[in-house]
Symmetry: C2
Subunit: 181 residues, 2 copies
DNA sequence: GGTATTGGATACTCATCAGTATCGGGTTGC
DNA sequence: GCAACCCGATACTGATGAGTATCCAATACC
């Protein structure tokens, strides 16, 4: 059900997907949706929350792998880029969701909360890796976390507008410059 | 008329603004809109095109000012940040527009074209400034232009999700690190 | 001064979509 | 076996919004 919703949203966007569309994609009807969720909004919220947690989990796993296996910072960036590419559609969904949240105080608060947690988790991961490798960070881990997320999202946005001209390895190159190798 | 549309879009978003809303904001009615534009889509396209050109023009003016007055790179970044802050709403409109374009091949092509031009203009400005100051760029100007636009947009996105935790001066600090002072 | 043109108003149509009410059929518990 | 209960289907409602048809008035043009 949530999978069907995810597919539909990916194909048509959140706002342009009707509840019927979603139900149909799941091989069911509207009634089924409304017997599982109170409203379309709740469905969206559930789906996004779940996926955001997934993404965060994956990203942190990548960090941990980097720590364990001893990848260079550059390679870590590359592996993140790969994840981003595979997940471009999702990132664009997040952008739309972000736009929706702007006009809905409840949603906005919920999103801000989760985002804070996500940033904090990334910040801790950065700090851990830096400590493990003896890397001197050029700014507080929290700011660095914001920067990494922003660059990742910004590049995804740019890719969405015009995929040519956004080199695949731009992200790791930027990270390397910011970290100072 | 376009001003009214811009205000309405800023307040309610593009998709959630009805043609009546826009007309009303202009002190007119739907008929007036449809006697000036063939469709809502055309109105949106006109408005966004115009505003994108404005933004580009302003950004380039900022670059030129930097060159003339001899601001440090850091200060240039700060002045850009100011422009971004003032224009946050607009940037969020661009994100929504970008999402709309994803599902409309015509729109997508138009947006990609304008984006390419914008990036090229920024790249030329960067190259010019670097040459004027004898700064050695860490990567091709084109890539640097993409990076700057991406970081600016990424930070705007992040600010939209949770304004706290995105320091005002993060952008110039990142630029400084990337350029290497 | 009279006619054509244009910018805008009013009042529709038509489609879409969130949400509701109600019904059926299968499963679970007794 | 029977009753309570879900889960899902069907068939609505009500609202909204894009787009259209038509009319009106003011201005421009001859």
């Amino acid at each position: 059900m949530l999978d069907a919703a995810a597919e539909t949203f990916a194909a048509r966007g959140i706002a342009s997907s009707s509840v019927s569309d979603i139900a149909h994609a799941a091989g069911l009807t509207k009634g089924a949706v409304y017997s599982n969720f109170d409203s379309k909004d709740e469905l969206v919220l559930t789906l996004m929350t779940e996926h955001v947690l997934d993404r965060l989990h994956n990203a942190l796993a990548a960090f941990d792998a980097a720590e364990d296996v001893g990848l260079a910072v550059h390679d870590l960036g590359a592996s993140l880029v790969e994840a981003i590419h595979a997940d471009l559609t999702w990132q664009h969904l997040l952008f739309e969701y972000c736009g929706l949240a702007r006009r809905d105080p409840t949603l906005r608060a919920a999103l801000a909360e989760r985002r804070k947690e996500g940033r904090a988790a990334v910040a801790r991961a950065i700090e851990r890796i830096a400590a493990a490798r003896g890397v001197e960070l050029p700014m507080p881990p929290a700011d660095l976390a914001v920067a990494m997320l922003a660059i990742s999202n910004g590049l995804a946005l740019e890719t969405g507008m015009d995929a040519d001209g956004v080199p695949d390895d731009l992200f790791p190159r930027l990270i390397a410059l910011i970290i100072g190798q």
